[in-house]
Amino acid sequence: MKELMTGNEAIARGAYENGVTVGVGYPGTPSTEILENFSRYPGIKAQWAPNEKVALEVGLGASLAGARVLVTMKHVGVNVAADPLMTAAYTGVNGGLVLVSADDPGMHSSQNEQDNRFYARFARIPMFEPSDSQEALDMVGLALQVSEDFDLPVMLRTTTRVAHSQSLVEVKERKEIPLKPYRKDAPKWLMVPAYGRLRRQSLEERLQRLKAYTETTPVNFITWGDRRVGVITSGVSYQYVREAMPGVSILKLGMTHPLPEGLIRQFAAGVEKLVVVEELDPYLEDFVRGLGLEVTGKKIFPAWNEFTPGLIRSRAVAAGLPVPAPDKEEGAASPPRELPPVPGRPPVLCPGCPHRGVFYVLHKLKLLVTGDIGCYTLGGLPPLEGMDTCVCMGASIGMAHGCELADSTLSRRTVAVIGDSTFFHSGITGLLNMVYNGGQGTVIILDNRTTAMTGHQEHPGTGKTLMGEPAPAVDLEALVRALGVSRVRVVDPLKVAELTQAIQEEVACGAPSVIIARRPCALLHREKRPPVMVDREACTGCRSCLKLGCPAISVQDKKAAVEAITCNGCGLCVQVCRFGALKEGGENND
């Protein structure tokens, strides 16, 4: 029976069917739903780790102890996990270990679009790239087998359009795989230089064996067609090529590290013109050229952003490739028409979001705000504009300290802002550094009791695990104190006056300080509060309330208007209006 599944659901299913018993990861679009789905299967253990490095280390430990393991993260998560990854290639595995790297060409929800295929080459580990959900499911099984056969962790690299697209898959029963026994083996697992050198050599031998395997693996295959053009492609680009360049000869690479030199040469010899179609970097193209073959790729197709079948067809036609007409009855696309300016619809903080108050105040106080990544990054966009920087998870605290080092007068004008999940992920070490090195910075931890950005996952502060079991909730105040911060205070981010005072005092105090802005995410904890009312007499039309960027507030005919169904009654605007025109609902309002 075939089921419609996203790539992420299929990966979870593939792990379940192939006997994986341990799943670990850290949320990040477009990888998050893999572990969420996996956690619902019986007979497995699934966990959120506080960050990707820990996730991979837990995974490696589970593999050492003989389990089949799934580790999931988004592309930038692999940067965080890169340290264990590089050496895990030396140690190899016991139970099969698959690391999913979910890349995001086009940056739908990421801060960069790095091409993680280079990580597989860098670490010298096998890599598979599915092009739809069925392949995603099948490749998990194949990757686990290869992991065990070649004693290496294996990367399964997806992209947003594979992870978040649904297609039909065949599901099967689970195969129970017994735990492999653990045997103490220091030369394999204890990477001191003397043993490391041995494993380095062994890694080369393992890679040589893989080079033979990749020539014959069923996921690398040629479909001969029109021999005037031969396209080498992988991942979702394969599907685009099938649609946009029907009938051409194709070398489809499902295993993209190591690459099959012989198969590529055989393909090249059978076609007149060799073309590589791949999203992002010329990873395949450079390899093919390195074989001394004549090839084009990035001269025709862009090296950034995601592809579409339309883009591939138009670039191929413009480059003079003999591309046959598409299958579709009516043929060519209708050309675009000119349109009036279409205003954007950027995502905004929800009505009642606890983050809004913080950024409103920070903007008012004109501070230098080093920021971080989460829902709250939206607080950096107009009209709130209460954040100056966003680089990677955890960067806010280190960067604030760096500002202070460069210009000591900045310590009284700078704050770092970081979410609770982000603080556990990689903010703790930044704060430790600041205290240790005599910094006087102020850190605001936005404690909304969840990982909201990626869809409300649990974390070490929430008191619950991925599998819904109760867990000890870390005491944030005690944690911060233990790092050496003596000035710690907790404020309600929806109380503007209190929050303003706290920030002013802590920034001025000349000692490291932490303000915990604590209130649960408005989507997670829906409070029943009556909507705010407008006193149209009192409203002067000054538009101050619009500075909050609240989706419930507009100014129409020079008077503020609050849309009752959208308003969450959080009361922030009531505090912002200097004329008392906005009133808590339920109050007398005439």
Partner: protein
């Protein structure tokens, strides 16, 4: 209609605003299409859907579907849950295609904050591109008893223009909608279907 005709490729772009129920609508559509024997691909970008951003779902049906993405200018139908979103994506539909658009207007924050203007007379722009059908889905849904069923009203008017038999749609509704909302949604579907 013959089985043959039933499997001609159909590309549908569903666009709207986070929270309007596009994901459920696409799920019902995929369910019905699957029963009718289509190959299917559905691609969703819902990154910050809960935070009121644009949502786009591409649904492709056919004998065999490769790309999950619809090439620009080749969609058969745009099913728009909001007027501005219809305009944003209008060049995706082919000239001979159809635009079904909810008459609802949802101002994005830049418009609310006075930083940009909501375009005037969107339906006129749409109908210059392709045949445009306006649906007051919110009103229809309210008449059926729940404003949140507007998505299913729109789906009904899409279903009417597709070659998937009505019974498949009904089964799909049953499979995808929680039991306590089923009656309202059946009524909403019918009201869109008979428009």
């Amino acid at each position: 209609m013959t089985e043959e005709a039933a499997r001609l490729p159909v590309d549908i772009l569903m666009v709207g605003v986070g929270g309007q129920g596009i994901i459920l609508a696409s799920r019902i559509l995929a369910h019905a299409a699957r029963a009718a024997g289509y190959d299917i691909k559905v691609s969703e970008i819902h990154g910050m859907a809960q935070r009121g951003g644009s949502v786009v779902t591409q649904v492709r049906l056919g004998e065999k579907v490769y790309s999950p993405l619809i090439p620009e200018g080749e969609a058969d139908v745009i099913l728009a849950f909001e007027q501005l979103e219809a305009l944003r994506w209008v060049n995706y539909v082919k000239n001979t295609g159809t635009i079904i658009v909810n008459s609802q207007v949802i101002y994005p924050v830049p418009v609310l904050a006075g930083m940009s203007r909501y375009p005037e007379n969107i339906p006129a722009h749409l109908s210059r591109r392709a045949r445009t059908i306006m649906v007051d889905a919110l009103q229809k849904a309210l008449e059926c008893g729940n404003s949140r069923a507007a998505n299913v009203v729109l789906l009904g008017s899409l279903a009417r223009r597709m070659s998937i038999p009505l019974s498949y749609w009904m089964n799909a509704l049953e499979a995808c909608v929680p039991a306590r909302y089923l009656e309202v949604n059946r009524a909403a579907f019918q009201s869109g279907y008979t428009l």
